[in-house]
């Protein structure tokens, strides 16, 4: 029997806020056994309930599995009162609303401390909670360009390379559990709570890396070299048979180069002097890439990858959705699991939504003794009864009254 206890058993976390980063933090903490209560309202549903647009909500389990989901409209007096009761019984409160909006609702951090003196507060912002941009509105998919990495990608003179995803949100989403667990530990040892502020901007900028030091010291901007590499050649993605099929190849060492030549049948050009050393291959990359591409054009991406890997060369097909879904490797690791989702409709409350079958990734870390929970997937408001009755001890008539006047809606 696996120990029923989880890393965060007994810890209660109150989550208020939409989108990607904050909910991801909540899901990670829930997978570790925390009771994460997510506060939403049917009146202004998180757009994430509708994503991706073509599936009306199939993406939402990725961010909400394992949570207790309740509906409170914190903008109503009745709703705010219930919310404050939850603050009193929570170890952590985390939100990603901007300060001016929280102020308008009457949610003020020093005041929350009056409700529960030792509560840990995690305030996630887009650009920053204090400082000149604190009221600024932002979108995660654009903030990826603010952290400096876009201008280290792609080719010189081309537009910044854009990732078709809200990428920088994930940095914040995975940083925050470290801070929250650290703060909980610190509180357990010292009795001291902490207030912490994060931002999508900073999370991205932290990863700008050694270029920060190079610029200060040498005044050099990181060169944009596309798929090439300073220390490897051939290095890039090469087109294979089929539509938009590519194989990535990274020849890093003399051994890789020898193995690469063997794997592709030792064509004459492999023994040309211009390709004999890393330096000469780097100097003749245009021609080298052309020749490598001539070989991959005769291969499927899967075959190219397998032949090169078996010979000892770092290589991978550029995975598409189908590859990821059908991957024997990911299946062996049980990475994706079936998950229901709720077909979101804008003009009907969530409890009327139908259920459909989809999938969700598991949280990547595999812990041997306290494995992460995949968790139950609740609908918006699906845990109202449990939270309002069992945690807050509210009566049915009180709940009914506050539901009818749309405070708990």
């Amino acid at each position: 029997m696996v120990d029923a206890k989880k890393p965060l058993s007994g810890i209660r976390i109150l989550e208020l806020g939409p989108y990607v980063a904050l909910p991801l933090t909540g899901r990670i903490l829930a997978s570790m056994g925390a009771e994460v209560i997510k506060v939403e309202t049917n009146k202004v549903l998180d757009e994430m309930n509708f994503i991706p647009a073509w599936s009306r909500g199939g993406g939402q389990p990725e961010f909400q599995r394992g949570k207790k989901r309740i509906t409170i409209d914190v903008r109503t007096p009745g709703g705010l009162e219930v919310f404050k009761e939850l603050v009193k019984v929570s170890d952590v409160f985390m939100t990603n609303f901007r300060r001016n909006i929280l102020d308008r609702w009457g949610i003020d951090f020093p005041d929350l401390r009056k409700l529960r003196q030792d509560i840990i507060l995690m305030w996630q912002t887009g650009l920053g909670g204090i400082g000149p941009y604190y009221t600024y509105k932002s979108y995660g998919i654009l903030v990826q360009h603010m952290g400096g990495v876009s201008l280290m990608s792609g080719e010189e003179g081309e537009p910044p390379a854009t990732i078709n995803s809200s990428y920088s949100d994930y940095h914040t989403g995975v940083f925050q559990p470290v801070a929250i667990m650290g703060a909980l530990m610190r509180r357990a040892l010292t009795g001291q709570p902490a207030t912490m502020e994060s931002s999508i901007f900073k999370s991205g900028a932290v990863t700008a890396g050694p270029a920060i030091l190079d610029y200060q010291s040498n005044g050099r901007m990181p060169p944009r070299i596309g798929n090439r590499d300073r220390f490897s050649a051939p290095h890039g993605v090469y087109q294979c048979q089929g539509d938009d099929r590519w194989c990535a190849i990274a020849v890093q060492t003399p051994e890789h180069w020898e193995a690469f030549c063997r794997a592709i049948g030792s064509p004459d050009w492999c023994s040309e002097a211009v390709f004999s050393t890393l330096e000469s291959r780097l100097a003749n990359q245009d021609r080298l890439d052309e020749l490598v591409g001539e070989w991959t054009a005769t291969q499927t991406a899967e075959d190219a990858m397998t032949k090169l890997q078996e010979a000892g060369v770092p290589a991978s097909l550029v995975s598409q959705g189908q590859d990821i879904h059908e991957s024997e490797h990911l299946k062996a690791r049980e990475f994706y699991q079936p998950s229901p989702f709720f077909l979101a409709e804008r003009d009907r409350p969530a409890y009327e939504w139908e259920t459909k079958e989809g999938i969700s990734a598991t949280n990547p870390p595999r812990l041997s003794e306290s494995p992460l929970d995949f968790g139950h997937y609740s609908n918006v408001g699906g845990d109202n009864d449990y939270v309002f009755k069992e945690i807050l001890g509210m009566s049915q008539s009180e709940i009914d009254r506050l539901t009818e006047n749309q405070s708990l809606y």
């Binding site: 993406g59 400082g131 201008l151 932290v206 097909l317 989809g358 990547p364 595999r366």
Partner: protein
């Protein structure tokens, strides 16, 4: 409590973490060290290979001058120890006996081949937490596959959605594949320590696959779901969205600016502003009004109008005036922009660390801003600077024993 409280103003208890990682996992130890853990980098006697990686401070090569090493090893200590020699392995076991955590990123099976796998170490120290960050994880048919940053970006599918639809999948710069796995390692190590020290659980082993970690870093593109539910492979769309118009990157007077119009109100504001500036009445056309995806049929003409508008301003002008008009323009920053950004300056993001050889430089340490806790401020260690403190001071080795280990090349 069985463990030591964090010092005043520090987030984490001084957990002893033995860091054996290469680039695939090096950020994990850095993050935990920056917030107070006692991370000891175990280097081979000749030094970690990234000490030789250019660029160097002042463009002068030297093992204490690599920008890469200096960045990724802040707040760590350093000892030299050969994991390949029996004496080095014994010494490592002695260190592991009193450590809280071991993190490593060697090829699968390497730790076992040198007799330092989790089972062996756990027999010495039942409370030990050990985390491995590897390209494909410890199990499954691809576990022994060769990898690199590019290969991880490809295998995860991250490249599939990066770049231009008419061009090849694109590598994101700055070795981005080295972050997600390391970040998950840090968060799950914290979970495992919480389990051990707050819940009274045992030590444990953590297996992290960089491929899986990378896949979860673009979850909102739904690669597998899109295949299952609609038989479609999501792909890259280039600098501008094909659905939300305008959303993407546009040229400005002095560089690039990103912008996105999501709500109908934002379009009202933007089209009005564009009309004021360009005098182009066409932009106020009723056909273009609406929300999120309503302008998709007019992508080309609207994009052309937006570029005619954005190129009349600097990126900074668009950023700040946009906010006054409730519009989101976000600058595309270079590293020099970051270093002079007033927001980062105001929110305790930069910490100046003075390194004896590299000098005083600003490091981005402030992932979180807090009045109660702040990052530690030690620069990256000199090679083997803590040998004496650890080997003599803690393990109690005598000078002759150390001399013998040195002559055998073990330390």
């Amino acid at each position: 409590m069985p463990f030591q409280a964090p010092a005043d103003g520090v987030l984490l208890p001084p957990y002893r973490i033995l860091d054996l990682t290469g680039p695939d996992g090096v950020f994990c130890g850095k993050l935990l060290a920056d917030y107070g853990a006692d991370v000891i980098k175990i280097e081979p006697p000749g030094g970690d290979s990234t000490r030789q990686r250019a660029p160097f401070i002042g463009d002068q090569p030297g093992q204490e001058r690599s920008a890469y090493f200096l960045f990724y090893n802040t707040n760590k200590r350093s000892v030299t120890l050969s994991l390949e020699s029996p004496q080095g392995q014994d010494l490592f076991k002695k260190m592991a006996a009193s450590a809280d955590v071991v993190i490593e990123s060697f090829p699968v099976g390497y730790m076992k081949s040198i007799g330092l796998d989790f089972d062996t170490l756990q027999a010495i120290n039942p409370g030990l937490v050990m985390a491995s960050v590897t390209p494909f994880g410890q199990t499954g048919p691809w576990k022994d596959y060769y990898s690199s940053d590019l290969i991880s970006l490809a295998a995860s599918g991250f490249m599939q959605i990066t770049g231009d639809p008419d061009g090849p999948p694109l590598r994101q710069g700055n070795e981005q594949s080295h972050f997600p796995g390391a970040q998950y390692a840090a968060s799950s190590i914290m979970g495992a320590l919480f389990y051990r020290d707050i819940q009274g659980g045992s030590g444990q082993y953590i297996d992290i696959s960089m491929q899986e970690a990378m896949i979860t870093f673009y979850t909102d593109a739904h690669p597998a779901l899109a295949w299952i539910l609609r038989g479609e492979n999501v792909t890259r769309v280039g600098p501008n969205s094909t659905l939300v118009i305008p959303l993407g990157v546009f040229p400005s007077k002095d560089g690039w600016i990103s912008a996105g119009v999501i709500t109908p109100r934002e379009w009202e504001n933007l089209s009005q502003w564009m009309f004021e500036v360009t005098g182009n009445e066409e932009i106020l056309n009723d056909d273009y009004k609406g929300g999120n995806q309503d302008r998709a049929p007019h992508r080309d003409i609207i994009t052309a109008y937006v570029i005619d508008f954005t190129t009349r301003f600097t990126s900074e002008e668009l950023f700040h005036e946009g906010q006054e008009r409730n519009l989101v323009f976000i600058p595309v920053n270079s590293v020099s922009d970051l270093l002079s950004d007033p927001q980062l300056e105001a929110s305790n993001f930069w910490y100046e660390l003075d390194h004896p050889e590299a000098g005083a430089l600003k490091y981005p340490l402030g992932v979180f801003d807090s009045e109660e806790v702040s990052p530690s401020m030690l620069p990256a260690p000199h090679l083997g600077q803590d040998n004496e403190a650890i080997f003599s001071g803690e393990l109690g080795l005598s000078e002759p024993e150390l001399a013998s280990l040195r002559s055998q090349g073990a330390i």
